[in-house]
């Protein structure tokens, strides 16, 4: 296979030594079938062992290698060298503080993830000694949202999260929606109380960038709009006599 040399600029930042982030350039002889993640591993193994970045599976499952490549939030294991120009710029995911080099601090999203209660909530006990039958049509309703790998590319693309980080954000809200529309779940009202509050779905202005950049073809923007309808319905229902305040 033929090799192709890329000029890769990588944003470097060591909080113990640097006052601010800066770019370093590397010339990387890439194989034709390499992904950007392979090029980063080459840099780390052959050129500069101090480079820090997250990765694990190299097959679009773990969601840990999300970075900005030429300004777009992508999974670097899914972004191929052959699809890129000779000059490539790699930066950590936008809208997150940098921990070191290409590693970002995800504490904010991890805290918000708890708010979504991303698990099945039952008020009635589940069926005993038998399966919980779920028709295929019910599965298809939420299946796409289960594909999220928490890579946080959508948070980097979201202009509302960039403006105001108190916004709960696309991936977490889409995950909450995944459980809200699961026929086995009974926790929708519990979640809406939190997620249809000010910092929840209403901060979304339906730009749709989250869905465009999602490497797993999840459509968080659609989830958020559906949650807005649920939120609006629940608001009026609780105003009815006997409705929960």
């Amino acid at each position: 296979m033929s090799k192709r040399t890329l000029d890769i600029e990588v944003l470097r930042y060591d909080p113990e030594q640097d006052t601010e982030p800066h770019f370093m350039s590397y010339q990387v002889p890439c194989e034709e079938d390499w992904a950007i993640l392979d090029a980063l591993n080459y840099i780390k193994e052959e050129l500069d062992t101090t480079l820090a970045f997250r990765w694990s599976c190299h097959m679009m499952v773990c969601g840990s290698c999300g970075m900005m490549v030429n300004g777009e939030p992508v999974l670097t294991c899914k972004t191929f060298v052959r699809d890129l120009p000779k000059d490539v710029r790699i930066e950590p995911l936008e809208n997150f503080p940098i921990e070191r080099d290409l590693v970002v601090v995800l504490d904010d999203v991890m805290e918000k993830l708890q708010m979504a209660k991303p698990y099945i909530i039952r008020k009635d006990p589940p069926p005993e000694n038998e399966e919980f039958n779920q028709p295929r049509s019910a599965l298809y309703k939420f299946k796409q949202y289960t594909m999220c790998v928490n890579c946080m590319c959508c948070y980097s693309a979201c202009p509302q999260y960039a403006l105001d980080s108190s916004f709960i954000g696309p991936a977490v809200l889409a995950l909450a929606h995944r459980y809200n529309i699961d026929s086995r779940d009974q926790g929708k009202s519990e979640r809406l109380d939190i997620l249809a509050d000010h910092d929840g779905v209403w901060n979304c202005s339906f730009v749709g960038a989250c869905s465009e950049v999602c490497p797993k073809n999840v459509d968080p923007a659609a989830a958020l709009q559906q949650m807005k309808i649920d939120g609006a319905k629940a608001y009026w229902l609780q105003k009815l006599p006997g409705g929960k305040s």
Binding site: L163, A196, D197, W202, G231, A232, Y235, W236, S245
Partner: protein, 114 residues
């Protein structure tokens, strides 16, 4: 925490958006023709006046016009936010006031048509 009141204005925004997306391109095209002097059959003044004189016509026109106003108001509020204006309460009051006045005027004028 509780479900935010924003859901109320979002409700009329969404309804107005649906109405605007479905009806306004056709209405703009048709009334564009009228304005340029080519009146399509059925859109003559007398016909439209007759439509606005019936109760069902008044109700339809009221919802189409007022929902579109609330849609525009909420969209403008979001645009202000996107452009970095951080005075949401003032912006919200201003745009919704215009929509509310527009709604009242729509009701008044429709009622006045004999």
């Amino acid at each position: 925490m509780a479900i935010a009141k924003k859901s109320v204005v979002w409700g009329v925004f969404a309804a107005g958006g649906t109405v605007a997306a479905f009806l306004f391109p056709a209405l703009i095209a048709l009334f564009g023709l009228v304005a340029s002097g080519t009146v399509p059959e059925g859109l003559e003044y007398a016909n439209l006046h007759g439509f606005a004189s019936t109760w069902i016509g008044k109700i339809i026109l009221f919802f189409v016009i007022s929902l579109a106003l609330w849609h525009a108001a909420h969209r403008l509020r979001v645009v202000f936010h996107d452009f970095g204006v951080r005075k949401d309460k003032i912006v919200a009051k201003a745009v919704y006031l215009v929509a509310a006045i527009g709604t009242l005027l729509t009701a008044y004028y429709l009622f006045a048509i004999g």
